[in-house]
Symmetry: C2
Subunit: 211 residues, 2 copies
Amino acid sequence: MNYPSKLLNEIVDEISKLPGIGKRTALRLALYLLKQPPEQTQSLADALLRFRNDIKYCKICNNISDTEVCEICQDNSRDHTLVCVVEDIRDVMAIEKTGEYKGVYHVLGGIISPLEGISPSDLSIDRLIQRIQNQNIREVILALSATVDGDTTNFYLYRKLTGLPVSPEISTIARGISVGEELEYTDEITLARSIQNRVPFNKTLKSKDNN
Amino acid sequence: MNYPSKLLNEIVDEISKLPGIGKRTALRLALYLLKQPPEQTQSLADALLRFRNDIKYCKICNNISDTEVCEICQDNSRDHTLVCVVEDIRDVMAIEKTGEYKGVYHVLGGIISPLEGISPSDLSIDRLIQRIQNQNIREVILALSATVDGDTTNFYLYRKLTGLPVSPEISTIARGISVGEELEYTDEITLARSIQNRVPFNKTLKSKDNN
């Protein structure tokens, strides 16, 4: 588009580099900021720079953190022998929200994706292996998305971890129909898998105490 | 949501202040920036501040501009006696894109909207009146959105401008069915209005030379 101002052009270009934001939305956001007090833009710009420059990754679990070691890894009430492997911080937050998990995490920073050019070396897999070799870890839970890339990464990790001299127990989160979901609308693969992987009914009764 | 980092919390808060962006999208954008080189965040922050602090409003037409007087108002090949009144810069850009309009603009900066608390004094109406009184203006075209607020503003401006000692001709952009639109799917009010405001057929033939 032909903007009547270089400054406007520049800001629309910059904002529309963000994923899912097109030129039209970028223009709307820029014009919105123009109608707000300058302080709002200032604090947005400040927060952006502070976030990008000062954020740290926990040196134990690779999660986003304000400190060298994140709050979860510092928490002694947690079970540090139980490590849940996730893709990114959003998954940590999702699991934390359940309030059911008392172990610690390992954040891969992505999943193996040949299509997006993400290979194992781009992820914090080496650090996971080091962690397993140096710390006393009883069980690793693979909690990646139920997608082709997630399955690939699960399998890659499984192979790597079982090949270690001292290998922890390796589990993966249960897949099946969601709570509240109707069988009729469940896709065939999920349904077939949840029949294959059926569990003794009495096990589901005490599942709340199982972690 | 409970973020494990104050910096993340802060940036998500700031980004989600923007219209149409919720906490979840804000988190996605923040994590995206974290995966890009720091230079991208730096140039976004710089562009935001430059835009908000250095942008000017043309002192003639009130449009966004890098200079005191915008390019359109500086352009001597345009007809400065013909002023098109629009809501904001997006409308200027939309009309400019047609390539059919050779007059100049007056940007109100909004439309009268009791629901959103925008009154005539919040808009550059006084400057439009000054402009009409000081310059030689032959015609004012009211080109506001075809909404209740647009109609209200049109009517308010019509009353104001016709009350001036020397009043220019006042017109409004034609409303009717869009080019390419099928009658069957046109709403009743638009269809009724376009029948009421029907134009001699031969006038439509030469409409391209009429501005």
